[in-house]
């Protein structure tokens, strides 16, 4: 029985008629190249995730990191998330990320809108003050001395306040707001809406994509922040996840509070492997990024970022 293939499938983009057909060799080379590029990113992630869920028997058989699935257990995660250093650092990082992202996004949105009205009072000098921060950074030492003299050493505020406003994000948002038809804003104001209302009811709904991207930038920045915590925090019990990752995985120090290496039983009667626990820390550091990434990735290509870089 033969069925007639109707061209119902979404049409594949076709090669324009003037373009020569690629050679077999060329196609193959391109295929290999794409494969190598994809593997270069995905292979390390695969190995780390797989090792974190491997039984200690599997890890022993593999002689370390596991490349091919062998025995699977979630014991490493149970061990890590049952309290102790890593659990606490996850909570700290989550708290800083949520609070910091909300704070930064709101402050940036307000300022971007406030500077987006052509001809408004003092907007030129204020915008200049924002743009000037691109040109010359204040320097590590004076910033450290300032944080110290404000009494912010060893506080979480030191991880949020110094970098709370990224001038780049502000400028991106502002240029986006300026492209919103001014008539829309003006008519709302004539109808009696004040600027807060215009921002929340008219401007924001039109800027969901760019706002999502900006909050992702802030969120990833806070989640990944290492140096501010390294510089300003003294007490290890305030450590965010990135510091824990460095100390216990990169530098290989034993995790305080966690059971000594290879001494706890996992569900299958084997031991929880130290390596699996370490790789689980790595996975915990990646997962939030992986989780939000697909939702905002589509906006990257829409010229949001590029427009800003060019402008």
């Amino acid at each position: 029985m033969t069925t007639v293939r109707t061209p119902s499938r979404p049409t594949r983009p076709t090669r324009p008629a003037w373009e020569e057909q690629p050679t077999r060799l060329g196609q193959a080379a391109k295929g290999v190249l794409v494969g190598v590029v994809l593997l270069a990113v995905l292979f390390p992630l695969w190995v780390v995730v797989l090792t974190s869920v491997s039984t200690s028997a599997a890890i022993t058989r593999a002689g370390g990191l596991v490349v091919v699935p062998d025995g699977i257990t979630l014991a490493a995660y149970a061990e890590l998330l049952s309290g102790g250093t890593v659990t606490r650092s996850v909570l700290v990082s989550t708290g800083i990320t949520v609070v910091g992202t909300l704070f930064s996004t709101i402050v940036t949105l307000l300022a971007a809108y406030g500077l987006s009205r052509p001809g408004s009072f003092a907007h030129r000098p204020l915008l200049f003050a924002v743009l000037l921060t691109f040109l010359f950074g204040p320097g590590l030492i004076p910033t450290y001395l300032l944080v110290q003299s404000l009494g912010l050493l060893d506080t979480y505020a030191a991880l949020v306040l110094p970098g709370a406003v990224a001038a780049f994000n502000l400028v991106v948002l502002r240029s986006f707001f300026m492209n919103i038809p001014q008539d829309l804003v003006d008519s709302a104001r004539i109808d009696g809406a004040n600027d807060f209302r215009v921002l929340t009811r008219i401007v924001l709904p039109l800027s969901k994509g760019v706002t999502a991207v900006i909050s992702l930038f802030y969120a990833v920045g806070y989640w990944n922040a290492f140096f501010n915590a390294f510089l300003y925090l003294n007490s290890t019990d305030k450590w965010p996840l990135q510091l824990v990752l460095r100390a216990y995985v990169l530098q290989g120090q034993p995790i305080p509070g966690a059971s000594p290496a290879d001494s706890t039983l996992d569900g299958t009667g084997g031991l929880v492997a130290t390596l699996a626990v370490k790789m689980a820390v790595v996975v915990i550091a990646v997962v939030p990024v992986l989780a939000v990434y697909p939702f905002v990735q589509k906006h990257f290509t829409k010229g949001v970022i590029v427009g800003a870089i060019k402008g």
Binding site: V107, L170, I190
Partner: protein, 324 residues
């Protein structure tokens, strides 16, 4: 501006006692725009406190600064700290390391995003294109700690590469602690983390090329490579120039965490760059004033580089970072 006129306070209605319009123009604008100013205030306040105040705080570079008495109590010593820089081998070693890394990355990092963009651009299937883009942008969102950890697990002493070498009877290599391979290592890390993200700008430039140019060239007998050379690359030149300018202005900055995190593994002689030098001299050894002077010199030279490179770009007829 008609929009602004609409926003001005409504003219006083006839019949009511019209208030004499004697308040100056700026007062009226202030009255109209004060909500906007309130909205801008938090951001400006944060930038003032955490950018402009420490910018002024750079005056410690001209002091014999002591943390116990602060800026107000520390004696002024003129340019003594800057004179010390001239004869400080640590500073110059860090400068040489920094410039070496910049130069190496200019050759071996800079072209990668362009190549990647050309590769992605040449993919016909939108699905595959989306997949490749999604995957190569991803590492940009990983922290340096994470990237270095992943490299350690792949090619470090106990990494996958060495597991493979050992189990097949070869002697293991430790790329992560070898000072001779450090340049290659950090460049590979930068490529892995950011080359994909860097391709975005080039992809955007590629998508603006008028396809009829390709067609015309093809009709005139230009092959694949000649079209690449005569149509595609000219379209990329402005972006390349722009990014080169930005990179030149940042010649003294090669990233900080990446080097801080790996300084122990390969030793300060190789991994000390200007930023880590400032950190270790100032914060770790508490030599604040001298480190601030070193940081200030780095910042001013960087500023001069950006402005100079931009000038050159203008002279060469390109648009540059900012145009007048």
């Amino acid at each position: 501006m008609p929009g602004a006129d609409l926003l001005a306070r409504p003219a006083p209605a006839a019949g009511r006692p019209a208030p004499p319009n004697r308040s100056p123009r700026w007062v009226r604008r202030l009255r109209r725009d004060w909500v906007l100013l309130v909205m801008v205030a938090p951001a400006i306040l944060l930038l003032a406190v955490f950018h402009y105040v420490p910018l002024l705080g750079n005056v410690v570079a001209f002091q014999d600064y002591s943390p116990y008495v602060g800026i107000a109590g520390s004696p002024w010593i003129g340019f003594t700290n800057f004179e010390r820089i001239l004869t400080d081998p640590g500073f110059w070693d860090a400068t040489v390391n920094t410039l070496t890394i910049t130069a190496f990355q200019l050759v071996f990092y800079f072209p990668v995003p362009i190549g990647l963009a050309l590769l992605v651009h040449s993919l016909l299937s939108p699905r595959l294109r989306m997949l490749v883009q999604g995957v190569v942008y991803l590492p940009h969102f990983f922290s340096w700690v994470l990237v270095i950890t992943l490299f350690q697990q792949m090619i470090g002493g106990a990494g996958v590469l060495n597991q493979f070498l050992r189990s097949h009877g070869f002697s293991p290599v430790d790329v992560m602690t070898d000072p001779d391979l450090f340049l290659v290592l950090v460049t590979a890390q930068s490529v892995w983390k950011d080359a994909g993200w860097g391709a975005i700008v080039f992809l955007a430039a590629l998508s603006t090329v008028d396809t009829s140019l390709y067609e015309a060239a093809a009709v005139d007998g230009a092959g694949r490579w000649r079209r690449l050379w005569h149509v595609t690359l000219p379209a990329l030149i402005p972006v390349v120039v722009l990014l080169l300018i930005l990179r030149l202005g940042e010649a003294l900055t090669v990233g900080f965490e990446q080097f801080l995190l790996q300084r122990d593994a390969v030793g300060a002689a190789t991994a000390e760059v200007l930023d880590t030098y400032v950190y270790f001299t100032g914060v770790v050894n508490s030599d604040f004033a001298y480190a601030a002077a070193a940081g200030l010199v780095k910042g001013l030279v960087g500023l001069a580089l950006v402005l100079a490179a931009n000038k050159v770009a203008h002279l060469a007829g390109e648009q540059g970072v900012y145009s007048r």
